[in-house]
């Protein structure tokens, strides 16, 4: 599908995504790469200029938003401020004319699912960010959508809470078996949660694959550079890439290249070094086994790696 804005800016350019039922699928890319526009086309808020949207073999391109049966979680949660938690969650069921008793039962179940029992009569403004996030999730899930769409749902949470919600969301998605399309610019988040990731750049899909594949075998320079840290090399006119953790720091005598430590960033479980060697900067990550303290800037080090770990990128 494609989408142009104002006839000039191409937001999404020939994106084809095949998302399997029950899959946790992420759209990952920098801001302005078209991931949100793609999601909004799936939701029905934007009409593709070209291309179709199919769900379960059914063409839904011309189906209006409110008949698509898709749950959506917004970055800002978009909770109704004038309604209580219960009223927020019950909204979708009410729109579907579900009988009162069923609504009560299903809302209670949904709130239990996201551990919000006891918060029923609060207003969104009386909840913490994480709780609001859960209400938004319960509100989208209670309608038992065919697809759950999430637009950077964890973006507004602090790091610790975000990590916890990553676990919870993934766990919930697996338990319910719902197909989830997740938009994020946070590569760690996408790697941690997804079954498969589509990395997008400038309206196009650069690569689709499982997290290990995307990380370990990036196809393009953009993917290699965007996901994690990487050393981009040029060998025989071809772009290549080598992950920092594939470089070992060894005594200069056993090294393929020797140089000096420029900076050492202590990351807790590992240290990320910038090493000046062979006329360029190399990134090398060393995990801390044992008590050895990190090297300091200025220390001489040798770099070693296995040629099999070098990935050749498309030029």
């Amino acid at each position: 599908m494609s989408k142009t804005f104002d006839g000039k800016v191409v937001a999404v350019d020939g994106v084809t995504l095949d998302i399997a039922a029950g899959e946790f699928f992420s759209l990952l890319g920098p801001s302005g790469c078209g991931k949100t526009t793609s999601l909004r086309m799936i939701a029905g808020f934007e009409m593709p200029d070209a291309g179709r949207v199919h769900v379960g073999g059914q063409d839904i391109t011309d189906v209006p938003v409110h008949r698509r049966d898709m749950g959506m979680v917004f970055q800002s949660y978009a909770l109704f401020p004038h309604r209580t938690v219960v009223q927020n969650v019950a909204f979708g069921l009410r729109m579907r004319d579900v009988p009162r008793a069923d609504i009560d039962r299903r809302v209670a179940a949904a709130l239990a699912q996201v551990a919000l029992t006891g918060m029923e009569d609060r207003r969104p403004s009386q909840l913490s960010g994480g709780q609001q996030q859960r209400v938004a999730l319960a509100r989208a899930l209670v309608i038992e959508p065919r697809v759950l769409l999430c637009d950077e749902p964890l973006g507004a949470l602090d790091r610790k809470l975000r990590q916890q919600m990553q676990f919870e969301l993934k766990e919930l998605q697996r338990r319910l078996g719902v197909t989830l399309v997740f938009v994020t610019h946070d590569q760690e988040e996408a790697l941690a949660m997804s079954d498969r990731i589509a990395v997008m750049n400038r309206g196009r899909v650069e690569q689709v694959g499982a997290p290990t594949e995307i990380y370990g075998r990036p196809r393009t320079r953009f993917v290699a550079d965007f996901i994690g840290e990487i050393n981009l090399l040029e060998e025989a006119g071809k772009p290549r890439a080598l992950r920092p953790e594939k470089i070992q720091l060894v005594p200069p005598a056993q090294a393929r290249l020797s140089g000096t430590v420029e900076t050492a960033n202590f990351l807790g479980g590992a240290t990320l070094y910038r090493v000046q060697a062979g006329g360029r900067i190399w990134l090398a990550r060393e995990t801390h086994a044992g008590e050895r303290s990190p090297r300091s800037p200025g220390d001489p080090v040798g770099l070693a790696w296995n040629d099999a770990d070098i990935v050749t990128l498309e030029s």
Partner: protein, 309 residues
């Protein structure tokens, strides 16, 4: 004061600290002095004089024989002439109709403008809304007279087309008065509503739609209730302005329309009875006051119910 403490836990403590801090007068508090002066000089003082006059038989400053009396209020309440109550009802009726029509015209316009993505479009629409305010009320009322009078644009056109044979009574009645008042006060409604509607997150309506509400249902369930404070504020403003309007009803209403402000002007200007005019002024103000209090009550209840406070 607490610093860097988890807000969710320490909210109450924070609030207390903030309340305590707000007792200290701000160093720039004196900046409101001009406003206070203006308010006292041109509202409190004149109103005190007017209220005083309304309970005296004459001007107690110039006339030593003036004595306190309630006869002006009695005259209004018992209304033997049979025109004062009519004037009050006409005033309220014109105010109410003007407010409702302004709301019906203003709300869709304000909603459209608040949701407009094009900056240029928004600027142009805003200019169009504000432009009439740059022309004086008298000028705009005269413009309406040239359009609505018996030999005005509408009537001559319709008659030349043979649609009608004698002019439609478009002015010198409440209809013409309301038309002109709506034109004059719609900008106030629109400007009030734009602010409120513009602050409602568009994604709320999108969320409602993704949950199964059609566009209209999403509007009714989400945007409309959230814009109630704006609807109330805009209506209050337009109502207060139209029941106190003088120029437009007197020019557009002719002899058919008599509102309280016109009656007051008559009492001062032609009947030389400033004391009775004072009583009428107090009545008009009381009516306004009752409505403002009712408005505040309703708003407070809505805010309490909807957590909008």
């Amino acid at each position: 004061m607490s610093f860097g403490v988890d807000r969710s836990i320490d909210l109450r403590h924070d609030t207390i600290c903030m309340a305590a801090a707000s007792h200290r007068p701000s160093p720039i508090a004196w900046l409101i002095a001009p406003a206070v002066l203006l308010f006292v000089l041109f509202f409190v003082l004149p109103f005190a004089v007017m209220a005083m006059m309304s309970v005296y038989s004459g001007n107690p400053v110039t006339n030593p024989n003036a004595y306190p009396t309630t006869r002006h209020y009695e005259r209004f309440i018992f209304d033997t002439a049979g025109i004062f109550h009519d004037a009050l009802w006409a005033t309220l009726r014109i105010g109410l109709v003007t407010t409702v029509i302004s709301l019906l015209i203003g709300y869709p316009l304000a909603h459209w403008m608040a949701r407009m993505h094009s900056r240029l479009g928004h600027a142009l629409a805003l200019t169009a809304v504000i432009a009439p305010l740059l022309t004086g009320i008298v000028v705009r009322t005269f413009a309406w007279m040239t359009i609505l009078q018996d030999k005005g644009v509408i009537n001559t056109t319709l008659m030349s087309w043979g649609v009608i044979h004698k002019p439609l009574p478009l002015m010198y009645n409440e209809f013409g008065t309301v038309v002109a008042l709506v034109h004059i006060y719609v900008p106030f409604m629109v400007l009030t509503l734009i602010g409120v509607i513009g602050r409602i997150d568009e994604r709320l309506e999108q969320a409602a739609r993704s949950l199964g509400a059609g566009r209209i249902r999403a509007f009714v369930e989400v945007t409309l209730p959230l814009s109630l404070p704006g609807i109330l504020a805009g209506s209050l403003l337009v109502f207060a302005l139209s029941i106190s309007a003088y120029v437009t009803p007197s020019l557009m209403g002719g002899t058919e329309v008599l509102t309280l402000p016109m009656l007051i002007a008559q009492q001062v200007g032609t009947s030389f009875n400033p004391n009775f005019a004072g009583a009428l002024g107090v009545v008009l103000l009381l009516v306004c006051l009752v409505i403002v209090i009712a408005y505040n009550r309703i708003l407070a209840r809505l805010s309490g119910e909807q957590g909008l406070a």
